[in-house]
Every structure is written in C-alpha cells, then in structure tokens.
C-alpha cells in the first residue's frame, strides 16, 4: 500500500516535471544525458590486497 502511494506520487511528479513539448528522437539531448550521468565513472585502481 505504502509502496503504491510512493509510486503514484513519483509518477505524478514525473508527469508534472516533464517538459510540455519534447523531441523524443532527439539524439543530442540523449547524448548530453549520458554524458552528465556517466562522467567521472572511470574506476580507480586499488593496491594489492596481499
């Protein structure tokens, strides 16, 4: 019950916050999206466990 309320709330928030018009096939926005989220993803290298 609690989970479904949270889901409904998140869903309504998403709809409200979504832009009114959008180009669904926009490659550049998808690229930007990937970059923003992916940036600084590379891993460090740990020393030996030994």
């Amino acid at each position: 019950m609690k989970k479904s309320i949270i889901l409904l709330f998140s869903l309504s928030l998403l709809i409200l916050l979504s832009p009114a018009t959008k180009d669904v096939s926009s490659t550049s926005s998808s690229n930007e999206l990937a970059k923003n989220i992916y940036y600084q993803h590379a891993d460090p290298i740990h020393p030996p466990v030994g």
Partner: protein, 406 residues
C-alpha cells in the same frame, strides 16, 4: 611436540614392527598406547625409542622451536609484504613439513599456509586449504579461530565479496572490544570500505593503519595505505590531501624502485585530476600509466576505459572510439567483463542512443545486478534509464527504475 604419533610415523616409515621397536625398551601394549597418545611416556623411554629409530630427541625439540620461529618470521614477512623473502621462509618450512603434524604448531602452520596462498592470490588452492581447515576448526585455540575468520575475510576480498568480508571485520572488531587490532587488519578493512564506496570509513581506518605502519617502518604497506587513502580523499573531494598522498607515492615508489606500483599510482593521480576537472592533466597521467602497463593486465582496461571516457566527454569521438574498440577486441581474450560492456555501450551510443539504452537494459544492468557489488554504478544507470523513459513519455518504466534506487 607430540612424540607418540611421531614415533609411529618414523616406525611405519622405516617398516619396523611394534614388537621390534619395543624389544628391551617397553612392552608392546605400552608402545601402542604411547603411539596413540593415550599414555604419557617418560622422557627416557621416548629417547630410547627415538634412538632406535635413529631420530634424536634433542633434534626434535629443536625442530619444535624452529617451526615456532619460522612461523613467526613467516607472519612478519606477510605483514611487511616482502614477496621474495617469504618464499625463502616458506621453503624452509616445507623442508620440515613432515614433522609439523606432530608439533603443537600444526594448526598455526596450516593457517599460515592458507594465508600464504591468499597472499600469492592462488584462490583455488586457498579455497581447498580453507575447506581442510574448516573441518578442523573445532580443535582450534581462540587465537587460531580468530585467524581463520580473518583469513576468510581476506579470501572474500580476493573473491570481490566485499559486503560479506565487511560483516566479518565488523564482528572481529566488536569481539576485540573495538580495539585497533593490527595494521594488516585495518588495512584490509580500509580496502573493503573503499571497495564498497564508503570513503569516510575508508579514510578513518586507513589513517589508523597508516599510523601503525609508519611506527613499524613498514614501507610497502605505507605505500598501499597511502594509495587507498588517496583514492578516498579524491572521492570525498578532499583534493589537497589526495594530491599529497599521490605525490608522496610517486616520490617513494621511484625511490624504492617499486615499478609495479607506478602505473597504478599514475592512474589514480589521473583519477584525481579527472575529478578535479583538470582534464588535460588527467589524460596525461592516464597515458603515462598506460604506457607502463602490459596489455594483458586487467588494470590496462581500467586505464584505457578512463581515457576513452575523457575523449568521449571532450567530443573527440574518433579517439574515444579507438579506445572502446580496443577494449572490445582485447576483452574477448582476457574476459574482462565490466569495461567491455561499458565500452560496447558507448560504441552503440555513438551510432544510436536508443539502441544503447536497450543494450543497457538487456546486458549492462543484468550483469551489474548479478555481481551485487556495483551499487553506485547501478544507481547511475537506473537514473539514466529512468530519465530516458521519462523523456520518451514512458512514465511507468521511468518510475520502475526510480523505485529501484534505494
């Protein structure tokens, strides 16, 4: 030394019957009881029996002392991360391995052997040794039980099961009344916290480990601890401290001629510069690291991937593509999964972002979910997919991925 079983061992080895051995020394039933450890014999009888077997009582007692001191030495070599010297000690122990089962150090020796296999990264042998020890654990002393659990935690680290290892470290720490046990213990716990992406904890334990290693002049472990600290200062945006760690590391690794660590240090310096948005410096350090690495080394992929990602973000797509394609082709031989999947994702993304999202859902997410140790990566990809679905008006799918973020 357990003389009864020792006498039995040498008697059978020499093909002598109990009657022959006991003649003129003691009765056969008496010898039988001695051999089965059910009766304590006096020193004189033991000496006479050993003498007939051409084994010296004094020599055996000396061997007991030798085993004890070699094991102590063995433990120190591991703690000081002395890779070459440990082989010499291990060889000496191997030479007297046949008498160790009759020594009071029997379980300690088997435990140290387990630790040695872990130290060498020989996981399948270590696993077999762990199973042997598991059957004997009810006979362990309190300290031996502690060592067994601690080494099991090290085994889990090497298997990449950091959460399970963390639970053991936590229990051992609590049982020890929250006392800092030793440098090694703290270093390994730091390693676990760092791998679980808990930089605050990693810094906390890492600093304690560093202090202990500095007091011991334990140079290799100082370098290792500085490296984990540098990584976690970078993650916590404590850049000055991170820079101090890495500069110190570069100076000392060069001084100690620790060439194996240099590419790792350069990589992590690149990682720091990357986080500080010093892209040019990051690239320079990553390139420097890559030039020192062998192509079949797993770290090679981590560094190459980092370079590819930087080029991608700089919109230098041709160079990025080169890196990702190289990872893709090399990973077929080496079986490196994570960097290979992510490189594939980027390559697909360059052609079609929509296809890349499908690839993310079908390949990347299931892999990370099955590995169970990539929580932060998963969060990032759940967000990415959720945003993507949101942009495409598929709100239910978007919410589904959002709800997976805990």
């Amino acid at each position: 030394m357990e003389f009864g079983p020792l006498i039995k061992f040498y008697r059978t080895q020499k093909g002598i019957t109990q009657k022959e051995l006991a003649a003129g020394i003691c009765s056969i039933p008496h010898l039988s009881k001695i051999e089965n450890n059910s009766k304590d014999a006096n020193k004189e009888t033991i000496s006479l029996l050993l003498e007939r077997l051409e084994v010296s009582f004094e020599e055996m007692e000396e061997k007991e002392e030798l085993i004890k001191s070699l094991l102590k030495d063995f433990g120190e070599k591991i703690n000081f991360y002395l890779r070459e010297e440990i082989e010499i000690t291990f060889k000496r122990l191997k030479e007297i391995e046949h008498v160790i089962p009759f020594s009071a150090q029997m379980y300690s020796y088997e435990l140290y052997k387990y630790r040695y296999l872990l130290f060498k990264g020989l996981l399948s042998e270590a696993e077999a040794q762990r199973d042997i020890l598991y059957k004997q654990k009810k006979n362990f002393s309190q300290h031996e039980r502690y060592l067994f659990r601690y080494y099991n935690a090290v085994f889990l680290i090497l298997k990449g099961q950091f959460k399970k290892a963390d639970v053991i470290f936590d229990e051992l720490f609590l049982e020890n009344n929250n006392e800092a046990v030793n440098g090694e213990f703290l270093y390994h716990w730091t390693f676990v916290k760092s791998s679980l992406d808990q930089p605050g904890h990693a810094i906390h334990f890492g600093r304690q480990a560093l202090q202990i290693f500095m007091n011991q002049h334990n140079f290799y472990r100082i370098l290792h601890t500085l490296m984990v600290l540098g990584i976690n200062y970078s993650r916590s945006s404590i850049y000055e401290e991170a820079q101090v760690c890495f500069n110190h590391l570069i100076r000392n690794a060069e001084l100690l001629k620790e060439e194996r660590m240099l590419p790792q240090i350069y990589h992590n310096m690149g990682y720091l510069q990357d986080r500080m948005n010093n892209v040019k410096d990051a690239l320079m350090y990553y390139e420097k690291s890559l030039s020192l690495q062998s192509i079949k080394n797993q770290h090679y992929f981590v560094t190459l991937y980092a370079i590819g990602e930087i080029y991608y973000n700089l919109n230098i797509m041709e160079r990025a593509k080169e890196c990702f394609l190289l990872i893709k082709s090399l990973s077929k031989e080496t079986g490196v999964k994570k960097q290979s999947l992510l490189s594939n994702f980027y390559l697909i993304h360059m052609e079609s972002p929509e296809k890349a999202m499908k690839f993310l859902e079908a390949k990347v997410i299931p892999y990370l979910e099955s590995a169970k140790e990539h929580k932060d990566d998963l969060t990032r990809y759940y967000k990415l997919l959720s945003e993507n679905y949101n942009q495409n008006g598929k709100y239910l799918e978007a919410v589904n991925y959002l709800s997976k973020i805990t």
